[in-house]
């Protein structure tokens, strides 16, 4: 029974239930009289929907009902909403076509849901789904963004000319043009940021229930933000009053962004539960997830970095095509714009930046946030360009970064792309990484590898991220249609046990431990006596959920504010009990003390007294010890760091080995070092996955997802990885209550560029300046072979 505070590394509370198989996930929930739903999904990327004949399905064994888009349309069900509206550089708002819950008129990607079969069992529903006859008239799909923008391209949405959702820009084009005129050297790159499929361990699932007696709905769903689902679905799609709708997201097995959207299945199930007055359950199959979960990344970019004769950066010009897929998802248009362009300054002094983003519709799965969301894409562009500049100017890759880095003294630092970094020390991160990764010994390692016939390469990436989403004022200016604060309630029970109700959602991050440490530190309450409650709109007052590395930064801040209020209230109670003035009561080490005396009450005594107000001056002191706070940050937070990666490539076969990975990250104050290290490991591995293995590939002709299962979509595995060295560097955030910055996405942001820079460095003898992701053996072999044959031809 001890207080476990900030900086300690207790084992994770939640792991006891996870590791003993006692987690309670949506698919574990069984309600009385529950039916099963199966979604009939489009096999075509683009097709007109003619008649849908459900008669055979309705006759099949166990079938209860079949619903189609027409049923929802007749009931005036709304479209799936977008949470951010962006505006083009011409002042035009983005095109926001209707996104039906079940397709109407047309299907726009493989997997687009067209009907739902409800039956007594999942097997019956699935079997009957084969009997739903949908009359498709296939249309030519637009698959690549370059094709989508051609004048003759078929239209994904008839009301969106040229498939262009928005032509968006940030920065000062004239200033960049000026930099171009002055530049001694311009480094140029064309690159693709490959499409990713998130694949959280637990597939999505939902159960909807309608209580006719209370006219009340409950939705259990695998969501990172149940309150937001309640608002979006209840308020905008199904027209269910907020007080008549409860959304529960119980244990959730990983999200990575995939579960931070409002999905069609949630709305369809809730609608159906109301119609049938029966609970309905749907659990996605893994292969279904490939064609129904939102996907990530997918940019095509050209960029130029302008430098003076000393290698100082003068300007950066970026032009990006960003794929939205067939519809605008919840945050879709925000990711490649507001979460991308503001990161393009990185940790560098870059006086002029201009970024144009064309946001494009195609007949592919909708694209939205995936761990890092916009920021890995920005870091990849910048850090690749810096390496190209280093190669072309002959300045060492570390030296060129040093020459341009923002020094510690220059913080706060205003970039030319909206954001102002409050704190940081990128040089310290870099210096430490150089030491930890033994960069001095690299040339010897390269020589030794060459002796074995291997090309060894060293890659460096620095990065900064804007996280702790988000300061509502700034977000509002950028087009957010809601606020991005967080809320927490600290309920101290009469026994001094504590329940924390918080609006973030724990789906693997360890919040139940981290947040308990914060409370334990602040109130001196034993770690074991604190429970963190989340994921239920009926138990938690309000919240925006978990994404954008915001839980600790914004939620933890709300929690510590609520804790401050508890202490104030405790001092009032202590003042009354100790017959002292409120001002004279200090709270220290779990005790309320009259200053300068040894008269004190323990926290437990105050908690008890709070609920036994026999002699309270009731006009000035309320009973109870429970406080709530909402916290809206004044700025983003800006974690950052430096990552080094070493690879070896076998030039004979293109096979690649990751030999070493070192990360020095500044995530601000560290609450639990073990959890931070775990978050960084996971993030780095996802970035390595993008760099070397993962690729969502669509057939250019048909729009079919080619990498639609784990037989072809390659997730990184333990045996692909070296032991990762994590070495933190701390500068406290200037504006968050505990100095925290957030660590959920760091790893994913720094790593793709570090890996690809290492690959390119390994191939340096061949005169190569870029390799697209994923750098697979086949791709590397082809590059090596072409380079060798051109050099032979040249001789």
């Amino acid at each position: 029974m001890t207080a476990i505070g900030i900086g300690q590394a207790p084992k994770r509370k939640e792991d006891v239930r996870f590791l003993t198989g006692r987690g309670r996930y949506v698919s574990d929930i069984k309600l009385h009289n529950m039916a099963a739903a199966f979604f009939v999904r489009s096999p075509h990327a683009h097709a007109k929907i003619g008649a849908i004949d459900s008669s055979a399905a309705l006759e099949a064994e166990g079938v209860v009902a079949v619903f189609t888009g027409a049923d929802l349309e007749a009931a005036k069900v709304g479209g799936l909403p977008v949470g951010w509206g962006i505006t083009g550089s011409d002042g035009e708002p983005m095109k926001e076509p209707f996104y039906p819950v079940l397709a109407v008129g047309k299907v726009r990607h493989v997997g687009d849901p067209v009907a739902v079969v409800v039956a007594e069992t999942p097997e019956q529903a699935q079997a009957a789904a084969d009997l739903v006859m949908v009359d498709y008239e296939p249309l030519t799909p637009v698959v690549s963004m370059l094709d989508a923008l051609k004048p003759e391209a078929p239209l994904v949405h008839e009301d969106v000319p040229q498939n262009l959702c928005c032509d968006w820009a940030m920065g000062d084009e004239a200033a960049v043009e000026e930099a171009r005129q002055k530049a001694a050297h311009i480094a140029r790159i064309e690159l693709v940021n490959n499409r990713l499929i998130g694949n959280p361990m637990e597939p999505r699932a939902a159960i909807a229930e309608y209580d006719r007696a209370r006219d009340h709905y409950t939705l259990y769903t695998t969501s990172q933000f149940p309150h937001v689902v309640r608002f979006l679905m209840g308020g905008l799609v199904l027209n269910i009053p907020q007080h008549k709708l409860r959304v529960v997201a119980p244990d959730v097995g990983g999200g990575f962004g995939v579960k931070q959207f409002h999905y069609a299945e949630e709305a369809a199930l809730t609608f159906i539960a109301g119609k049938l007055c029966r609970p309905v359950k749907w659990v996605s199959e893994r292969s279904e997830g490939f064609v129904s979960d939102r996907q990530g990344r997918d940019h095509v970019t050209e960029a130029e970095l302008m430098l003076d004769e000393n290698g100082k950066f003068l300007g950066l010009w970026v032009s990006t095509l960003a794929n939205m897929g067939g519809y605008l998802s919840t945050f879709g248009p925000n990711i490649p714009t507001n979460l991308y362009a503001p990161l393009l300054s990185g940790v560098y002094k870059l006086p002029a930046i201009f970024c144009n983003v064309k946001v494009v519709f195609t007949n592919t799965l909708p694209v939205d946030a995936y761990r890092g969301a916009g920021r890995p894409e920005a870091t990849f562009v910048l850090e690749r360009l810096v390496d190209v500049a280093a190669i072309e100017t002959g300045i060492d890759k570390i030296e060129i970064r040093r020459r341009n880095m923002i020094s510690k003294e220059e913080y706060p630092y205003q970039t030319p792309v909206v954001v102002e970094y409050d704190s940081g020390d990128p040089m310290a991160c870099l210096d430490k990484a150089i030491e930890v990764a033994d960069i001095a010994g690299f040339e010897a390692r390269r020589t030794e590898a060459a002796r074995r016939g291997k090309y060894r390469g060293l890659g460096l990436s620095t990065y900064v991220e804007a996280c702790g989403l988000a300061p509502s004022r700034l977000a509002g200016q950028m087009g957010a249609r809601g606020g991005l604060y967080e809320s927490a309630t600290v309920r101290v029970h009469p026994t001094s046990h504590v329940s924390v109700m918080i609006g973030t959602h724990n789906h693997g991050q360890g919040h139940e431990t981290t947040f308990a440490q914060i409370v334990s530190e602040q109130l001196g309450v034993p770690f074991e006596d604190i429970d963190i409650v989340f994921g239920d709109t009926d138990r938690v007052q309000f919240g925006m959920g978990t994404y954008g590395s915001r839980s600790l930064v914004v939620g933890g801040a709300a929690l510590s504010k609520a804790g401050d209020k508890v202490i104030v209230k405790g001092r009032k109670i202590a003042a009354h009990l100790l017959e002292a003035s409120f001002e004279d009561i200090a709270f220290e080490k779990g005790e309320f003390k009259v200053a300068g005396t040894d008269r004190a009450k323990t926290f437990a005594e105050i908690a008890g007294a709070a609920y036994v107000p026999h002699d309270y001056p009731l006009e000035t002191l309320e009973p109870g010890l429970e406080e709530q706070a909402y916290y809206d940050p004044i700025n983003f937070t800006y974690p950052g760091g430096a990552h080094f990666c070493e690879v070896e490539i076998d030039p004979d076969s293109g096979e690649i080995e990751l030999c070493a990975y070192t990360a020095v990250d500044d995530v601000g104050t560290i609450i639990n070092p073990m959890i931070v290290e775990g978050q960084l490991h996971g993030g780095i591995v996802q970035g390595i996955g993008q760099a070397l293995f993962e690729h969502g590939i669509y057939d250019e002709e048909t729009g079919q997802l080619m990498s639609g299962s784990f037989m072809d979509y390659c997730m990184p595995r333990a045996d692909n990885l070296p032991s990762i060295t994590i070495s933190p560097q701390v500068t406290a955030c200037a504006h968050t209550p505990m100095g925290v910055k957030g660590c959920g996405e760091c790893g994913t942001i720094g790593s793709p560029a570090a890996v690809i820079n290492a690959v390119v460095d390994a191939l340096k003898p061949l005169g190569i300046t870029h390799v697209d992701m994923p750098a697979t053996p086949n791709r590397l072999w082809a590059i090596i072979r072409n380079a060798q044959s051109t050099s032979i031809a040249a001789e």
Binding site: S287, D652, S653, G654, E655, F693, H695, I697, M706, S707, F710, M711, D712, Y713, C714, M715, N720, T776, P777, N778, W781, A782
Partner: protein
């Protein structure tokens, strides 16, 4: 359709049950058959589970060879001291099939009966000149693997064992699919007193032997003997992970590695 499940205790009953079924399938480790059924690519009327058949999970060293029962799991082959002593390359091959879950369920009989063009065992059987023993006859490996997912087996014929001769030296080299871990290209090289046999899996529509490579190695069993050989890519597979040119190239890279390893291991 409802599925009838049978667990016979004799080979004869198993064959009879299958012959009598409308669209029956033998079930061994289920690592191929069950995913296929889940994806609704197969919808058999009857499953005849072979797991209770006596004597089919065994490994035995005989005078001039090695016998592995059809129901022997990959993990058991990989860990077997008998196999490691007799044909270490075979144990190593089994130890790199798929992942641990697959290795603890999947069987050699299931693997060869299925004859996936990217499976590993077919390369071993073909290069080692093995004999497939069934409930009714013996089939030389050269006559067993007929085409993509196609073998010489009758529908109700049960593989009971595989008999391997012992080579002087052998080695298997595999370029794994990063996702599935099947062979994008796998090359099994086996050297016998009377010649060299080389089988390639993963690269084409079915496992195959390369006469060019075998002849070159028969005259000199060393990697440099292969320097002048190149493989025609036109008959090879292309997919997301490897195009035909790459596969053709990798056949030679892996063959050289296998020859070097066979020499070193001997």
């Amino acid at each position: 359709m409802t599925l009838a499940f049978h667990r016979p205790s004799s080979i004869a009953d198993a064959a009879k049950l299958l012959a009598g079924a409308e669209d029956g399938k033998f079930l061994a480790g289920g690592m191929t058959l069950l995913p296929t059924m889940r994806q609704r690519l197969a919808d058999p009327s009857d499953l005849v589970d072979l797991s209770s058949l006596p004597g089919l999970a065994m490994i035995e060293r005989t005078g001039d060879g090695l016998v592995i029962g059809a129901l022997t799991r990959h993990a058991d082959v990989a860990g077997s001291e008998v196999v490691k002593a007799a044909v270490p390359a075979l144990a190593a091959l089994a130890g790199r099939i798929g992942d641990p879950q697959v290795r603890y369920r999947g069987t050699i009989g299931g693997s060869i009966a299925n004859n996936d063009p990217a499976a590993d065992y077919p390369a071993a059987l073909l290069a080692l000149d093995a004999t497939v023993v069934t409930d009714r006859r013996e089939i030389a490996a050269d006559d067993f693997f007929l085409g993509t997912f196609e073998t010489a087996l009758e529908t109700d014929e049960i593989v009971t064992a595989v008999r391997f001769p012992i080579p002087l030296a052998a080695s298997y080299e595999k370029l794994r699919s990063p996702a599935s871990r099947y062979a994008l290209v796998g090359v099994f090289v086996a050297r016998f007193a009377d010649g060299v046999r080389v089988a390639v899996t993963g690269a084409g529509p079915c496992v195959f032997r390369s006469a060019d490579i075998e002849e070159a190695l028969a005259s000199a069993f060393e990697p440099s003997a292969l320097d002048r050989i190149s493989i025609d890519a036109s008959e090879l597979n292309s997919d997301l992970h490897a195009d035909a040119d790459y596969r053709a190239h990798m056949i030679m890279v892996l063959t050289k590695r296998a020859v070097a390893a066979a020499i070193a291991g001997h």
